[in-house]
Amino acid sequence: MRTHHFSAGILVAALAAGLPTGSWADDQADFEKAMTAAREARKKAATVGGEWRDIGKFLKQAEQAAAKGDFATANQLAEKARRQGELGYEQAMSQKDVGLPAYMIAGSK
């Protein structure tokens, strides 16, 4: 909440001062950084068989949003994809050594 107010404050100040609030090129560069991180996270998850279903879709949607200049949506989607990539990787690593679960062994007796 606090950061919100703070950045809104800066934005208002910048507008008031008639300063440019960041160019398209900056937005594009930030977005590309987010996409690179997301793609890397996705790839890392895939190397351990942990990729989730919708990451590819999010990346595609992010690109479409960016192409329309909607960088807020684009970054949000890239961020979601990155997070899912990281979670998928962690999930797969946590499952590396699973075998027959205890309830199955107990239930067989």
Partner: protein, 280 residues
């Protein structure tokens, strides 16, 4: 090699020390637990009836299934497949040249191919036969592959599931272990393993479906599924079950699903083949 032996020895010692008396998780031990688990859970279902999937445990849907089986929706596929079996390739050869013991060969699959160091499934063998004879490979999920599989599996009805894990090749055991790990690993955004649904919850409802027990899960494929409105292969089903937990599905007939098939079919050893099947 030495390393593996030493590691195994160390593992045996550690397990022996911590759990003294508990048997090592060999494939045979896994299989015994697997089969006994379902029989204990559904004591009124005769073991062989598990090949009928959810209909073994749900008398209500069994009624309509039995009516469907009177005019099986997979009959066309069987005759279509028979035609394929008997039609020579462009080079004049036929499937029989690849499978001299055919068409009743389904009980031999999947098997461990020691030379190639991989699990060979029946659909894979079919496509390799085609390619060796200058024909294009078939798509693995549905269509002509499901037709020829329907015919071969129909001809193989009554054969017993009998997957072997050759003890003289540690890579075969490794493939089995990979398939097993795949089965019990949670995956996808929903964080479910195959076992969460088909071991832990058979008989329970998932949306409009009653979950089937996994004992018997491989015997009846390919399957005519009313929801698909057509016949699909086992790997198509794997793919669908991965997607519904929001995991990215793996390549059909890729290493992951072949190993999974190897494990899952081994769990059914002793159960008769009854494909093709029909399901809701």
């Amino acid at each position: 090699m030495n390393k593996i032996i030493m590691l195994t020895a160390a593992l045996v010692m550690v397990l022996g020390l911590t759990w003294g008396g508990v048997a090592l998780a060999t494939p045979q031990a896994d299989q015994a637990i697997w089969q006994s688990y379902y029989q204990k859970r559904f004591p009124n279902v005769p073991k062989e009836d598990f090949i009928n999937g959810v209909y073994a445990i749900d008398p209500v849907s069994r009624e309509s299934w039995e009516a469907i089986e009177e005019f099986p929706p997979y009959e066309m596929a069987i005759s279509q497949g028979e035609k394929m079996w008997n039609t020579p390739f462009a080079n004049g050869k036929t499937y029989r040249d690849c499978f001299p013991n055919g068409p009743a060969i389904a009980g031999k699959y999947p098997y461990w191919d020691k030379e190639r160091g991989m699990v060979v499934t029946l659909p894979l063998a079919i496509n390799e036969c085609r390619e060796a004879n200058g024909e294009g490979p078939l798509k693995y999920k549905k269509g002509p592959i499901a037709d020829i599989l329907s015919y071969l599996r129909y001809q193989s009805r009554g054969q017993l599931t009998k997957v072997e894990i050759p003890e003289d090749d540690p890579k075969a055991l490794e493939a089995y272990e990979k398939g097993k790990q795949f089965y019990f690993a949670r995956r996808g955004q929903l964080n479910f393993s195959c076992a969460n649904c088909h071991v832990q919850n058979p008989g329970n409802l998932l949306r409009s479906d009653i979950l089937s027990p996994a004992l018997g899960h491989t015997t009846h494929f390919p399957v005519y599924r009313s929801k698909w409105g057509e016949i699909g292969t086992l790997h198509r089903r794997f793919s669908g079950c991965n997607k519904q937990v929001r995991a990215k599905p793996f390549k059909v007939q890729g290493e992951e699903y072949r190993n999974l098939e190897y494990f899952l079919t081994y769990m059914q050893n002793g159960l008769p083949l009854n494909g093709p099947g029909a399901r809701k």
